[in-house]
């Protein structure tokens, strides 16, 4: 395990997520719990964001269910390395389903950020992009600098998926920017914005 290297990675999570979401178009966004949800909210709260406050390991399968339900919309899952590690099996499920509209972005700072910045497995030997690729997700990239990020931004937006991007980001503690936390409200506002009055049962 390398306890220092991610402290000097050049990419900063808030700027990365802002760049992603500034060009989201009509994408539906799912954010994994913790810092990823705060990053997505810092870029601008939106009814078509679904930030998780729990359900660790669930961001990718939730995004998959959404992508299957809404094949004409881009679905973007933004989550962290710790959250992804808890749901690695879902990469196998995504690869098996092959949803063309699903893009997964992992913000990999090699840390469990909300619990004291303990090292995750990606600080050691584990390469999430390799796991995604070996699962059979057709396009998997790992990037760690500005040039790499710029190369993948259009792919995240448009390329036929499923796609998996592991973005190595600096380990840093940032001010919390919290989305609403009432799950029923988050669900209702998302469904209303997406489905209109059909959302009301």
């Amino acid at each position: 395990m390398n306890s220092k290297r991610s402290q000097s990675y050049p990419l900063r999570r808030r700027a990365v997520v802002k760049e992603l979401l500034d060009r989201r178009g009509d994408a539906l966004v799912v954010a994994g719990l913790g810092a990823s949800a705060w990053d997505v909210t810092a870029a601008g709260d939106d009814p078509l964001n679904f930030p998780l406050w729990g359900a660790m390991g669930g961001a990718v399968p939730l995004g998959l269910g959404l992508a299957l339900a809404q094949p004409s919309r881009r679905v973007l899952v933004i989550t962290g390395d710790g959250e992804m590690l808890m749901g690695l099996g879902s990469l196998a499920t995504v690869a098996t389903q092959r949803p063309p509209n699903l893009a997964i972005v992992v913000l990999d700072n090699e840390r469990f950020g909300e619990t004291g910045m303990q090292l995750t497995h990606t600080a050691g030997s584990v390469a999430l992009g390799g796991i995604a690729a070996a699962s059979g997700i057709p396009i998997c990239r790992t990037v760690g600098d500005k040039k790499g990020l710029e190369a993948i931004l259009p792919q995240i937006q448009k390329e036929v998926g499923p796609l998996f991007f592991n973005i190595k980001i600096r380990a840093e503690n940032l001010p919390l920017v919290l989305p609403p936390k009432d799950g029923a409200y988050l669900k209702d506002r998302f469904r209303l914005a997406l489905l209109g009055t059909d959302a009301i049962i």
């Binding site: 679904f50 406050w53 399968p61 939730l62 269910g65 809404q70 099996g89 059909d198 959302a199 049962i201």
Partner: protein, 175 residues
């Protein structure tokens, strides 16, 4: 053991899923669900999703509901234990979830490793906020699944039907 004559209740369940406009069928297989899974695979209106663990299905169907799709989650009783924390998602967000559980470790079980989870399946679901319906006779399966589906999608709430091992017959590995 189950007899060689084909059972009609899997067809009944399939029809209830059709009538309830279920679009996503997530499963970890069980022999008790085998013919239902086959029927769902053949349907043009259902997307079948084989999972690596049952909790994935809870999250998958939450995403489905966000996108306007109804779903069903098929598993055996051992899988219920794998879902516990993920069920917080369904409950906190007040989403529907229909789970059909085939029971193990409950009636003439051959494998003692199935018994601990089989004996607490109903309690675990209840504690997690899932409404449970146990069915011990095959003639009752249709009305029970119908009731659970209605309550899930009209709720919206999580419901589970526990299909007894008395109906399914013991698994004996030929012994």
């Amino acid at each position: 053991m189950t007899s060689l004559a084909p059972e009609t209740w899997p067809q009944d369940i399939y029809q209830i899923l059709v009538d309830n406009h279920v679009r996503q069928v997530a499963y970890i297989p069980d022999i008790g669900h085998a013919s239902l899974i086959k029927m769902c695979h053949k349907s043009n209106n259902m997307k079948t999703v084989v999972l690596t663990t049952e909790e994935e299905g809870v999250a998958l169907l939450a995403g489905a509901w966000l996108g306007g799709d109804r779903g069903v989650l098929l598993m055996q009783s051992s899988g219920v234990g794998n879902c516990v924390n993920m069920l917080s998602l369904t409950r906190t967000c007040r989403m529907p979830l229909l789970i059909l559980v085939t029971m193990r470790g409950e009636w003439r079980e051959f494998n003692p490793w199935q018994v601990p989870m089989g004996q607490i399946t109903n309690q675990v679901l209840t504690m997690a906020g899932v409404l449970t319906f146990t069915v011990s006779h095959k003639d009752r399966i249709k009305e029970t699944v119908e009731a659970a589906a209605k309550m899930a999608f009209e709720g919206p709430v999580a419901t589970a039907v526990l299909i007894s091992q008395r109906i399914l017959g013991p698994k004996t590995f030929g012994r």
